[in-house]
Amino acid sequence: MPKTLPLDQRPPLMRLDGVDKTFGTVTALQGMSVQVNQGDFISLLGPSGCGKSTVLRLISGLMRPTSGRLTWVDPPKRNDLGVVFQEPTLMPWATVAQNVWLPFRLQGKTYVEVRDDILEALRLVGLDKFQTSYPRELSGGMKMRVSIARAMVTRPKLILMDEPFAALDEITRFKLNNDLLALKEKIGCTVIFVTHSVFESVFLSDRILVMAARPGRVIEELQVDAPYPRDDVFRTSSEYAGFTRKASDALHTAMEEAA
């Protein structure tokens, strides 16, 4: 089982240097510089319009920066990247197992070839009994689990998540937060997670980049050096409360600067 190293000993995965992105006259992202290390769980925390999602689109290669550079230690191959969107984004005409098969299928691998990987991924998100169900038969939380299983079935180095739990109720969201940490520990990947929830960002991540809007930029980096595994005990601890206070203050500063 891969073990996550302490924050200051992790080898680099990729970095952004002075990245700007403008759309017409709007500056979506200004001067973003950050180094992402292997095993990081980074949250991008900020109000709407601060360029959080733009960062993910840049890293996933769906967009190119207007200026600045993205550099990878190892240029990512097709299956080194997993993505989870705000909606589950499943193919409604395909069963759960066929949806999880997609990343492999696009590489030309047959179902039989990768069946074990698919079943393992579904087992990890607790849905191995639902392989033959169609997405519409599942609840919102279960659909999101399928989406997560699809993102991790190829064992990617980096998973990008764009407010994946924003539309779920709090109980489901807490459960998925716990499960996500367990999953990350198990497959030892790096996660970049976009959220506008202070509580979620503190619970999940060891690095929080607080962002401000107009123009979108990073105004502060916080480190949450509470050890993993974290569970419901951590969620109710005074240590957790202290971190959320710090993150919340930083977010307020971000809102004021933008106003």
């Binding site: 290669g61 005409w93 696009l106 590489q107 169609y134 519409r136 939380g141």
Partner: protein
């Protein structure tokens, strides 16, 4: 997490629930019963008016006479029906191939779409009955001419709907396909075609009716007699001979064919979509 809560063993039904169930049962029966009653009443009235006013059969035959004619002329009419049906189904098949093929081609190349889409629209909006005489001047084969006419009427709804469907694929899924480095073909095969299926099936149901209309209209124009003539020609011929009961009998066969095509295509659509598409979902309450 379970897919559905298990219903409790003993169902407790309150007064409101009972009333609603009863009204639903009545509605279900009425859905079948009312059209049948209306049809019976209509036919009865028709028969009565013909008998009461002593209308001669070469002006308006009563329903019983129409039915007798249908039985008497069955061999000849059925032969004609088979020919019309053959043209209709062939035209529908060509409309599916042409409509889907053009939609995919337009979808893959903006340049081709910009060049040719306006002409597809022009072909669609020009009444086929106006083009048909020209077609039969230039095309020697009667079958090919009939097919072409029926195709012109039927292909457009398939083209328009499939084009819409191919462009309706979920945007996040498109991004996902890009991130995973999907080829154009993979995107078409695994994302766009399945997304377009419900739209295509909607177009197919319209095209089924239209290809029958196209086949009948083309037969009117082509108009040659002999063994190879379909129902439309039989109607024309019966009209010349003032054999009005036979006209009605042939008309009934055409209408029935249209209904059967529609029901068949609706069933096909239901079978293909029932597992996943919203339109095929049964909802409670």
């Amino acid at each position: 997490m379970s897919i559905a809560e298990n219903a409790p063993e003993t169902v407790i039904e309150d007064a409101e629930e009972k009333a609603r169930r009863k009204s639903m049962q009545i509605e279900k029966a009425a859905k079948w019963l009312l059209p049948v009653v209306a049809l019976g009443a209509g036919l009865g009235l028709w028969e009565f008016i013909v008998w009461w006013n002593d209308i001669p059969h070469y002006i308006l035959p009563g329903p019983t006479l129409v039915l007798t004619t249908l039985v008497q002329d069955w061999v000849m009419l059925f032969q004609a029906l088979l020919i019309t049906l053959q043209i209709t189904l062939m035209a529908l098949a060509v409309a599916v191939i042409g409509g889907v093929g053009l939609a995919v081609l337009f979808n893959q190349s903006r340049w081709i779409e910009m060049s040719f889409y306006p002409y597809a629209v022009i072909l669609q909006v020009t009444p086929v009955i106006a083009i048909a005489p020209l077609i039969f001047i230039y095309i020697d084969s009667r079958i090919a001419g009939l097919l072409l006419c029926a195709w012109i009427v039927a292909f457009f709804p398939i083209l328009a709907n499939t084009t819409l469907g191919l462009n309706s694929a979920d945007h996040n899924l498109r991004d996902l396909f890009r991130i995973y480095g999907a080829t154009r073909w993979q995107k078409l095969r695994y994302l766009q075609l399945p997304s377009a299926l419900p739209y295509f099936l909607g177009g197919l149901r319209i095209a089924g009716g239209l290809s029958l209309i196209g086949a009948v209209v083309a037969e009117y124009v082509a108009g040659t007699g002999g063994l190879q003539s379909g129902l439309a020609f039989r109607i024309l011929e019966a009209g010349y001979r003032l054999n009005i009961p036979r006209m009605f009998a042939a008309l009934i066969l055409i209408a029935a064919t249209g209904v059967i095509i529609f029901v068949g295509l609706s069933f096909l659509s239901h079978m293909l979509l029932r597992k996943w598409h919203e339109s095929a979902l049964k909802r409670d309450g």
